[in-house]
Amino acid sequence: MPQPGDSDSRSAVDILIASDRVPANARPDLLTEDDIWALLEEIKDPEVPAVSVVELGIVRTVRWDGNELSIDVTPTYSGCPATELIEELITEALRAAGFRDPRINQVLTPAWTTDWITDEGKEKLRAFGIAPPEGSSSKMSLLGEPEVIACPHCGSKDTERISEFGSTACKALYRCKECLEPFDYFKCI
């Protein structure tokens, strides 16, 4: 059975008809799920522009339902003001690629966790000056002591927490006692 993204199995007529439904020169129906993931990797998080929405684990699934593209995204925090903007950015990018009516679904289950941030994403956070989440969210205890957080600037583990909350819901504020620089820590949830 030919898949919608599988160009080899489609005749020239199929492609011609398909192209009639989308803006000139754009052939979104020829894009594979991998192509779409690559496209989404270009979209940066509006509040943490060092990483993409894919690296942060916000995009959960990309799939073709017949001829319709469906993308699941999940908010990082219940009240994260960036959630709607991210959905708009994704819609915009897909429109630019020729999709007329991309379907973006917001899913709450399973709840987003920092464990989903890719290793590459964590490295990019560090390079950007944000200490990436330490440890695994599933092992955190309710009133447990915070992990040792390494300074993203000099690597020292001699750091202290200034505030449990930082410039956005997902971050806390720390200070390095070695290089004396303050820095954001991406909280582990």
């Binding site: 925090y77 009240g79 009133l143 505030s163 909350f165 930082g166 909280k187 949830i189």
Partner: protein
């Protein structure tokens, strides 16, 4: 009361309590005692308003009378609000602000924890997300209660006053009514006895560490928020919170 009616009622309670406490905290925006505290309070408020929105959206879907989440939040009057009386109490000094937060957070934490296992999958999903946030809130507010209670003579006095002032509103958190019982029996809401036991246990543990004395278990309690009978404060909160939506109903851009 049918199970469907109880569910709508229960969702509005969850939503309204989050919304009103979120709004109360936002009153401190621009005038919190320290910059770091301001960031923390506003982040907690943001989490609560976000959670309220999730509950309202689900409630709107079930109520299905054309009202959306915004209309439920901004176009209902005080007697239709179902929030816990504790959440509408004024900020007063920082001991009261953090004491109110602590009593609420303990209730919130155990309620959400139980709701993650709700037989209603939609509720379980919203709760799983909210629980991560509420855990962080509780860690912070319990630290404050301990720091102030076991701090200086002055901070101890104020924190004890806060416990004494707020205690009469805590009974409502752990006293079930018909709606709570119907929800528990359906496996949707928490078991009331377990919730009461968990709440009392943690409150006692933290207050003891904070060298504070809890109120009496049989103290007279103000209840009624869950039924729309509020203290004098709620009307003022709504007047400010709902002004724009009342003045320009159905406006699509602000």
């Amino acid at each position: 009361m049918t199970q469907a009616e109880a569910l709508q009622e229960y969702l509005l309670r969850l939503a309204d309590s989050d919304m009103i406490l979120g709004q109360r905290l936002c009153e401190l925006c621009g005038k919190a005692p320290a910059l770091e505290e301001e960031m923390a309070l506003m982040n907690v408020a943001l989490d609560l308003v976000g959670q309220a929105r999730n509950w309202y959206e689900y409630a709107a879907e079930l109520i299905d009378d054309g009202r959306d989440a915004d209309k439920l939040a901004f176009r209902r009057d005080a007697h239709h609000y179902r929030n816990l009386l504790l959440t509408e109490q004024p900020n007063e000094d920082y001991a009261v602000t953090m004491g109110r937060q602590f009593f609420f957070d303990v209730w919130h934490y155990f309620t959400l924890k139980s709701l993650t296992e709700s037989s209603d999958e939609h509720i379980a999903g919203i709760a799983a997300k909210a629980l991560k946030e509420a855990t962080y809130h509780l860690r912070r507010s319990s630290e404050w209660v301990k720091r102030l209670g076991d701090g200086t003579e002055e901070s101890h006095r104020r924190m004890q006053d806060a416990v004494d002032i707020l205690w009469r509103f805590t009974g409502e958190l752990i006293t079930p009514d018909d709606t709570d019982r119907v929800m528990a029996e359906a496996g949707i809401g928490p078991d009331p006895d377990q919730l009461a036991q968990d709440w009392r246990g943690m409150v006692k543990e933290v207050l003891t560490k904070a060298t504070l004395t809890p109120g009496a278990e049989d103290a007279w309690m103000y209840m009624g928020g869950k039924h729309g009978e509020h203290t004098e404060h709620l009307g003022f909160i709504l007047a400010e919170m709902q002004f724009l939506q009342r003045a320009y109903p159905d406006a699509t851009t602000w």
